[in-house]
Amino acid sequence: MSQIADRLIDDPGLAAGVAQLTPERIEEVVNRVLKGETGAKLKAYQETCMRCGLCAQACHYYVSHDGDPSYSPVSKTTETIYELMNKKGRVEPSRIYEMAQIAYTECNLCKRCAHYCPIGIDTGYAMSMMRRICYLLDVVPQYIRDTSHSHAATMNQMWVKDDEWIDSLQWQEDEARDEFPDLRIPLDKEGAEIYYSVIGPEPKFRTQLIYQAAAIMHVAGVDFTMPSTPGWDNSDMSMFVGDFENMGRLKRAHFESAQKLRVKKIVMGECGHAFRSIYDMGNRWLGYADMPVPVVHAVEFFWELLTEGKIKIAKKLEGPVTIQDPCNIIRGRGLMDKLREVTSMLCEQTVEMIPNREHNYCCCAGGGVINCGPPFKNVRTKGNKAKADQLAKTGVHTIICPCHNCHGGLEDIIGYYELGMHPRFLGDIIYEIMEKPEGL
């Protein structure tokens, strides 16, 4: 068995944060959060947890480290937030370093452990509150902190300037018009059927995904628009940092930019965490029980287009594929059946990973762990040997993977364990195999 103290990783954000802490400040912040922001839920979790250890098997970190108990969900809660509750915040600064590393990098907030706990304890929630305390103490891994700062300053994750955003869209429109002479990416079209939103990394690194989405919308004859103003980025690293104030700002901008355009619904690109932010965390922070504008994930949207026959498949993708179930849209939003239906409409054969659907293991990138950057890359690859084994067993080459985060996480695992596989987005595949009528 190892201990968190044995595996501390150098991170400038954590180190600088801890250096300015005093025991008094820790005590003050911890109690402020415990009294002011948490309530019966956390208290009942701490008190009712029977330390039975049934949740251990649930967690890919525990499984991947050959049953090292310090990675079990109950150990993570006991060693972090529950300890702060017991000690009323009277801990040394060095302890906060350890707790921050556990909360930010050794838990993906994937909530798989919920399927194992008889009492119904939500470890993901407990870890989020631990992160909230770390954020208020200013002890946050540097990379994810930077990303959250980008959100705060520019309202998008990648420090994309307002004109660069418009530029990227027009550039993709221009490119696509070689293939589809009449294709448009309409900006700020009032009253459009659909408002299409993406995450910051799309215009920055994966611009072809915007091209492909526009091509699909065009071929399907969908009345859509994209906003030219902030709010276009649906991603949310502030949520994972614990900066809930900024999380609220981001979600408000997202919803309000859609409301201003009086669209019928928002379609979100293939990302999981952004979706979590609109149905689970950001919306609640803003006091919405339901979405003020209906929101669907790309999986649902593609499912509609395919079942309604708006998109026709010319030839199915050859060779077997497997399906990565992204926690935030599967365990988070029940899209496992639609994902499978879409996959079977696109691909010849599917080999399921075991376990799958809402019992699937997280990719280990989620919960902002991948956004904690290079210092923690090994945490993710070694921490998810379970996923590598799961993938290897399928023996396939292509992984259907409708989540940006999962892509990043899986690519790293595939590289580290030399699996020779390749994750693909649904949009990418649809674009490749759909019928593209002449002269559109």
Binding site: M1, E37, T38, G39, A40, K41, K43, A44, Y45, E47, T48, M50, R51, C52, G53, L54, C55, A56, Q57, A58, Y62, G67, P69, S70, S72, V74, S75, T78, A114, H115, Y116, C117, P118, I119, G120, I121, D122, Y279, D280, R284, W285, G287, A289, I330, R331, G332, R333, G334, M336, E358, H359
Partner: protein, 219 residues
């Protein structure tokens, strides 16, 4: 000795039950008020059908991933809880007690059955203890409070079995047994055993969120 027995089985029993009843009400009410003040974004999602759906699935042995992951623990947990209630409510001696104290009477277990069930419950406690000592992922998180809770539930059964089999001075054993039972009852609201009060709500919330918000199973 007999005075002590009379005191323990009379006034002290009323004290223990009062602490249990009022303590439980206090804890439930204050927890609910706290939830209303601080957890409205969770309370808003509470749903009776999804709560019941979740509770039902978790009441089925091996009906969930958690119960499947550790069969010995699952058997011990169900045996313990079912045995606990059977003996507490339907043991012959207890039925007589309910009758004299509250004037209510019902069907009772035969002495032999009660005895066997008591051994099963003690066996389950042994399983819990052995897990805490030997399984790394349980030992690692076990604290004094967890041992105390286990001791509290085991003691009435151990002393009860000793008294029934007349091991040791009978009156002393019976007195100790009643004392242990009273201690257990009085401390339920204030120890780890408070899961008896709260687990139904934490389970319900998890069921509501997984059913209503996340639209998936929570088992």
């Amino acid at each position: 000795m007999i005075e002590i027995y009379t005191f323990v089985s009379g006034p002290l029993a009323w004290v223990a039950w009062s602490i249990f009843v009022f303590g439980s009400i206090y804890r439930l009410v204050s927890m609910y008020n706290l939830a209303k003040a601080k957890d409205s974004s969770s309370l808003a999602y509470m749903s009776l059908p999804y709560s019941l759906r979740s509770i039902f699935h978790w009441l089925v042995p091996f009906g969930t991933l958690g119960w499947k992951s550790d069969p010995l623990m699952t058997v011990a947990t169900f045996a313990f809880h079912i045995g606990f209630f059977l003996v507490a409510i339907f043991l012959g001696a207890h039925v007589v007690f309910w009758d004299t104290a509250f004037g209510i009477s019902w069907w009772s277990l035969s002495d032999t059955t009660g005895d066997i069930i008591s051994f099963v419950v003690i066996g389950a406690c042994v399983v819990f203890a052995v897990r805490r000592l030997t399984l790394p992922h349980v030992r690692n998180v076990t604290r004094g409070k967890d041992w105390f809770a286990l001791l509290l539930v085991a003691l009435p059964f151990v002393t009860g079995v000793l008294a029934y089999h007349q091991i040791g001075p009978s009156l002393l054993m019976t007195t100790l047994h009643i004392l242990a039972g009273e201690l257990l009852i009085a401390l339920i609201p204030f120890t780890r055993l408070s899961h008896a009060l709260f687990a139904v709500f934490t389970r319900s919330y998890m069921g509501s969120e997984f059913g209503g918000v996340r639209r998936v199973r929570d088992w």
